[in-house]
């Protein structure tokens, strides 16, 4: 019977292929995580494949939190080797890792990235912001005339007379992005403290932790939109809404200066120089985390980490800095800790 033979041949072929796949060890480094680190990781992955005899690593995106979650799923070939993150790993993530047997984690800081506030190039003149303005524009409850009230502001000009007279439309990174955490800590929380709202809330009987949480909250009436995708999604929203203000990474902005204009934060313009010196307030370190148990099992893993942090790559003259990463002045210490395979704590 012709047909039945075809079926059995197909089944045997499929089965043999899957067993061959299962038996063969993975030989490429598998990376996932922050979409902010993804461009740098892909530059390094391409160069790593071109310059060494190891196969090119696979780099996936998805956000810092989802990357670290997959990283902490366990040890073995079917888990990823490296998690990219645009924030430090959290205590509870370390705990989750440990519960699944991922105990030895090498932390690698690759450099710094600035978070910039940009709007349409030909749109309203958003040229200077302060954390207080952002807090007043985005918080659900703000301090007004000495009272904590529901946010009454609908226009930027109501928040501060120096800002354009247009509706508030802010596009901020979603909660799965590491960028969100930095935005909350360095803009919303700072603005909350500086405006006196946090003190007023604590005076009103809230504990410090509750007040802090309240400071990080964002209004839910549609004036502030969480963007869960990449910066290209934020850019598309800004493109279609001339009054929109978006939160971007510095490198992304620098690649799109023909469409976006950037605003200063507390009178400091974002640039690699102001971020390196620390004068631009909204910047954060970028990391990747390496599973030590995989070093020696997955070929090229340690070499990848070393290649990534080499002076030629992550240094001030390297391709990462060329793309927009602010080089880490303490790169030498990072290199030393990778060669020694120093784990966290």
């Amino acid at each position: 019977m012709k047909f039945t033979t075809l079926v059995s041949v197909a089944a045997v072929a499929a089965a043999s292929v899957s067993f061959a796949g299962a038996a063969q060890a993975r030989d490429q480094v598998q990376v996932a995580g922050s979409s902010t680190v993804l461009p740098y990781a892909s530059i390094v992955a391409e160069a790593f494949g071109e310059n060494t005899d190891f196969p090119t690593p696979v780099v996936e995106s998805g956000g810092s939190s989802s990357g670290l979650k997959r990283f902490c799923e366990g040890v073995g070939e079917n888990t990823i080797d490296v998690a990219n993150a645009s924030r430090k790993i959290r205590e509870k993530e370390i705990k989750a890792c440990a519960e699944n047997g991922v105990t030895d984690i090498i932390e690698v800081r690759i450099g710094y990235d600035g978070i910039v506030f940009a709007s349409q190039k030909d749109g309203p003149a958003f040229t200077a912001f302060t954390p207080v303005q952002w807090h007043n524009a985005l918080a659900p409850k703000v301090l007004k005339d000495g009272q904590i009230v529901d946010n009454p502001y609908n226009k930027w000009s109501e928040v501060d007379a120096s800002l354009p007279d247009v509706e508030i439309a802010a596009f901020i990174p979603g909660t799965k992005h590491g960028t969100r955490e930095v935005f909350e800590e360095k803009v919303l929380l700072v603005g909350c403290e500086e405006s006196g709202a946090m003190k007023a809330m604590m005076d009103g009987g809230m504990s410090e932790d509750d007040a802090e949480d309240a400071c990080l909250a964002v209004r839910t009436d549609g004036k502030s939109v969480d963007i869960d995708g990449d910066y290209t999604e934020t850019l598309a929203r800004i493109d279609s809404n001339p009054n929109g203000v978006g939160v971007f990474g510095l490198a992304f902005y620098e690649n799109n200066t023909d469409k976006l204009k950037v605003a200063t934060m507390s009178d400091v313009a974002p640039s690699t120089e102001t971020i390196a010196t620390g004068t631009y307030p909204v910047s954060r370190p970028l990391f990747f985390y390496v599973k030590k148990a995989h070093i020696g099992v997955i070929p090229g893993l340690k070499e990848y980490a070393q290649f990534f942090t080499a002076d030629e790559i992550a240094g001030p003259q390297g391709p990462l800095a060329q793309y927009g990463l602010v080089a880490d002045p303490e790169l030498a210490a990072t290199q030393a800790s990778i060669s020694a395979e120093e784990t966290m704590k």
Binding site: A14, I43, T232, A251, E254
Partner: protein, 446 residues
């Protein structure tokens, strides 16, 4: 007798006095108007549909065409054995080749007597990332060391944009990527015939590249990834789907269990594809330990997704074969299996193949399930070395590659994404045309 029943004159009610049959009465007018209106609605609906189709096709083609051309620099270049050895000793070898190339280009420009002032940094901003191309060329052809070789190397994405009209002197701002003064050099180089715009074969045959190298990105490797996935889908879902539907349609008893199975197959066809991705991650990668990012796993996941489509269309075409064929075969003493395999199945084959091809086309354009099994991202970096590697080496797929490009900061990748859509559409159109031809040629009507 027929005269009296058929002639309208005699059966029609007597005409109302004073009214001609040729003048329409109110009711007829209303009915005619309603019909006219309905036709107009239909035409409008088709018109709107066509309008959107034209807009879509126009925007895809106009946005995607730049991906098929690229700006290259034609440079003659000599690499000496010493330079090669020195570059190979470096950690970042491709960078070393790049700077050798930039020096060579600079001296060529010095000699050519171009009047526009330029320096090494400016030339560095004009060239793309030629290091990888140069290194792999000399690794494969060591006998060319010390000889004069003519290269066509990609210019940087912004120079490419300037030649394509995406970057203009008005809309650009000076940055470390490109400065206004560099455009004068570009103009001079175009005049000298060093910078030319050529058809971008690398886009069709190449692999993905890093975010800082849009000039080197191509969709070829992910086409291969898609191809291997489709092989898996075809060789698993066709036999399984056909066998399942033949059993359900021809052999299975009608009872509660088969009813339940039928309902579930129909439901399965409506399950969002991302669910199959989650299932694939849990079963194929975490439980069965198949490799991540492999077309094999992608194919398995898409098989699950395609199966219901194939089963439903196969059952429909089996049902369409008239029972008289089965009865005739059984009547002359064929066993039930003989009747099905010798008579019913061949007649149902065109319908089955059409359903399969449509199912495959659907699977070809699917991204969501691939997201979870590691095929979306920076994956498609090269062609597999062999058939087995094709199934298990990490690779991407066409729609996943398009998705990845659309998310990158450099606008040149956005063009690549549109170009990728054109390539994907060409494949989908081909498959659908094949399905139509098969149906037209082999379909039997009773």
């Amino acid at each position: 007798m027929t005269e009296t029943t058929l002639s309208p004159e005699t059966t029609a009610p007597a005409a109302i006095k004073g009214k001609s049959l040729y003048a329409l009465d109110d009711l007829t007018r209303i009915r005619n108007a309603a019909e006219k209106r309905f036709r107009a609605y239909g035409m409008t609906a088709i018109g709107i549909g066509l309008f959107f189709l034209v807009v879509l096709a126009y925007s895809i083609i106009s946005e995607g065409m730049p991906a098929f051309s690229r700006t290259v620099m034609k440079v003659e270049f000599t690499l000496t054995q010493e330079q090669y050895d020195a570059a190979e000793k470096e950690l970042f070898k491709t960078k070393a080749y790049e700077s050798i190339f930039i020096s060579a280009l600079k001296s060529q420009l010095d000699a050519s007597g171009i009047s526009v002032p330029f320096d090494k940094d400016a030339i560095g901003r004009l060239v793309g990332k030629p290091g990888g191309t140069i290194r792999s060329f000399y690794k494969e052809n060591p006998d060319q060391l010390g000889k004069n070789v003519a290269f066509e190397l990609a210019a940087s994405s912004r120079v490419d944009g300037y030649i394509n009209g995406r970057v203009t002197r008005e809309n650009m701002t000076d940055s470390r990527f490109l400065q206004k003064s560099d455009l004068d050099i570009v103009d001079a180089l175009v005049k000298a015939g060093i910078i030319v715009n050529v058809f971008n074969w690398d886009f069709i045959t190449g692999a993905d590249s890093g975010v800082d190298n849009p000039g080197g990105a191509g969709i070829g490797a992910s086409v291969v990834g898609s191809f291997f996935m489709m092989l898996v889908v075809l060789f698993l879902s066709l036999p399984i789907g056909v066998a399942a539907s033949i059993y359900l349609e021809e052999f299975a008893p009608q009872n509660k269990i088969t009813d339940l199975i039928e309902v579930n197959i129909s439901n399965l066809a409506a399950v969002p594809s991302i669910v199959f991705g989650i299932l694939g991650l849990a079963v194929f990668i975490q439980f069965m330990h198949l490799p991540q990012s492999a077309p094999l796993v992608g194919g398995l996941v898409l098989t699950l997704m395609t199966l219901p489509t194939i089963i439903i269309s196969t059952r429909a075409s089996l049902k369409a074969v008239p029972p008289s064929i089965r009865d005739a075969a059984l009547g002359i003493g064929a066993s039930k299996m003989q009747a099905v395999f010798h008579h019913v199945l061949p007649l149902a084959m065109p319908g089955i193949l059409t359903g399969t091809i449509i199912g495959l086309a659907q699977a070809l354009g699917e991204t969501a399930p691939l997201l979870l099994i590691g095929m979306v991202g920076f994956v498609a970096r090269g062609y597999p070395d062999g058939i087995v590697q094709g199934f298990i080496d990490p690779n991407s797929a066409m729609p996943a590659q398009i998705y990845t490009w659309a998310a990158r900061a450099d606008f040149a990748f956005y063009e690549k994404a549109w170009g990728g859509i054109i390539v994907l559409l060409v494949f989908l159109l081909t498959m659908n045309i094949l399905a139509i031809i098969l149906r037209r040629r082999f379909e039997r009507r009773w």
